[in-house]
């Protein structure tokens, strides 16, 4: 529990986290106020990608990860605590976004945003650095997914989008499958790698 609180304290005292959350909520409010027939979720998901990457990438911008591992050398415990802290921040922001944005299916929309954020988080655990994780995730959800159109229904973002666009059950299954896959890769990497 101490470790989860420490991870939450890390996120709270990092200015970039606050800016990202504020940015997401401000964009949502603006788009909702403009009252255009746009899918707000599609726009703000980029913010959730960043929000998922920050908890991991900030550790590797400099030498903080060394301090983290010295304070909590049990890597399994560290990963669980970090994932929980990230999920808490993500869930709160997603809930606020879904309500503020007046989503038709708020629970599904929030679940989709949490999924996108946690997927980005797992990708960041694997690649560690901010820019590659960000470029990779944004390319996937903003370029590859629309270009493949109907051929890309199995892609992580499209499978999970069913959560608020189609069948919640199929969406939940797809999201879980993708999280399990990338989560397993990330866990193995995290436990095995030096520093």
């Amino acid at each position: 529990m101490n470790v989860v609180l420490a991870e939450l304290s890390k996120l709270r005292t990092l200015p970039l986290t606050g800016f990202t959350v504020a940015g997401i909520l401000a964009c949502t409010a603006l788009l909702a106020a403009a009252d255009q027939a746009v899918d707000i979720i599609m726009y703000v998901q980029a913010g959730f990608v960043l929000l998922g990457i920050i908890p991991v990438a900030h550790e590797h911008a400099g030498r903080q990860f060394g301090t983290t591992l010295i304070a909590v050398p049990a890597r399994g415990r560290l990963l669980v605590a970090k994932s929980l802290a990230t999920a808490v921040v993500m869930a709160l922001t997603a809930a606020a976004t879904a309500v503020l944005g007046g989503a038709e299916r708020p629970v599904g929309a929030a679940a989709y945003l949490v999924f996108i954020g946690l997927f980005a988080y797992a990708v960041a655990v694997v690649v560690r650095q901010l820019i590659p994780a960000l470029v990779g995730m944004l390319s996937l959800i903003l370029i590859v997914s629309p270009v493949l159109a109907d051929h890309g229904r199995w892609l992580p973002d499209r499978a999970a989008a069913e959560l608020y666009q189609g069948s919640a059950t199929i969406g939940a299954l797809g999201a879980l499958a993708w999280v399990a896959l990338i989560g397993a890769v990330a866990t193995v990497q995290f436990l095995r790698r030096d520093l």
Partner: protein
């Protein structure tokens, strides 16, 4: 008591550590000496559970670092500077470190005062000088009031006053019964404070012993260092 035994570390085809072994005892300051790239940091990183050894053990009172419960209460350590994210303040950095090991919050202010950063506690680490970053790293090491201290190049970047301060700190810690292990690439820098020397070169331990034992037979400390590490001038 720190016990390092038969440590082997390979990176690709290169053997970085080749059967490295030595001990650091309570009540004594042990200096781990060697030129850049000799294997000092690799040894300390394995000792602190950051990297995995291909063979051998590195133990604190018989236990590997990764199995210590709330390790900061047993071992205080500093590797390469502050180890803090640049956009956080010193106080916030130490606050999360303390929380992760259930260390009372009051310790943050106490260690900041102890290392002389009380006035800069609310300044972002990005604005710190090299010496201040070093002091912050030492503050994190002292946070859990540990019995054992492991410090990698602690005098790096410190001004003369800072160097005198850290020597006093390490001496007092050992005199109070604590174990101190510090690394350095300057023999002259540690000779005054260390009781025991461990010299490493090219991934192998070349000699261990008290300062007098290691340096006897050589004209001066530098001469001993160059002769032992095989660097010719």
């Amino acid at each position: 008591m720190i016990t390092i035994d038969q440590l082997v570390k390979r990176r690709g085809s290169r053997t970085v550590l080749d059967n490295v072994g030595f001990t650091a005892r309570p009540g004594r300051v042990t200096a781990f000496l060697g030129p850049n790239g000799a294997g000092k940091s690799s040894t300390l990183r394995i000792l602190l559970g950051l990297d995995r050894a291909d063979d051998g053990h590195a133990l604190f009172d018989g236990r590997p670092y990764r199995t210590l419960p709330d390790p900061l209460r047993t071992v205080g350590s500093m590797l390469e500077g502050s180890g803090a994210h640049r956009s956080r303040t010193a106080r916030n950095h130490l606050a999360w470190v303390a929380r992760s090991n259930g260390i009372p919050r009051r310790r943050v202010a106490e260690v900041l005062a102890e290392v002389g950063l009380a006035a800069d506690a609310r300044v972002r680490v990005a604005k710190y000088s090299l010496g201040m970053g070093q002091r912050l790293g030492i503050a994190a090491a002292l946070l859990g009031e540990p019995q054992i201290l492991v410090l990698d190049e602690p005098v790096n970047g410190l001004d003369p006053e800072g160097i005198r301060w850290i020597r006093r700190l390490l001496r007092d810690h050992a005199d109070a019964g604590g174990t101190v292990l510090l690394s350095s690439h300057l023999m002259t820098e540690v000779a005054d404070v260390a009781d025991d020397l461990v010299v490493i070169a090219n991934g192998r331990i070349v000699t261990t012993g008290t300062v007098t034992e290691v340096t006897s037979g050589y004209a001066d400390l530098e001469e001993a260092f160059f002769a032992l590490t095989g660097v010719t001038r």
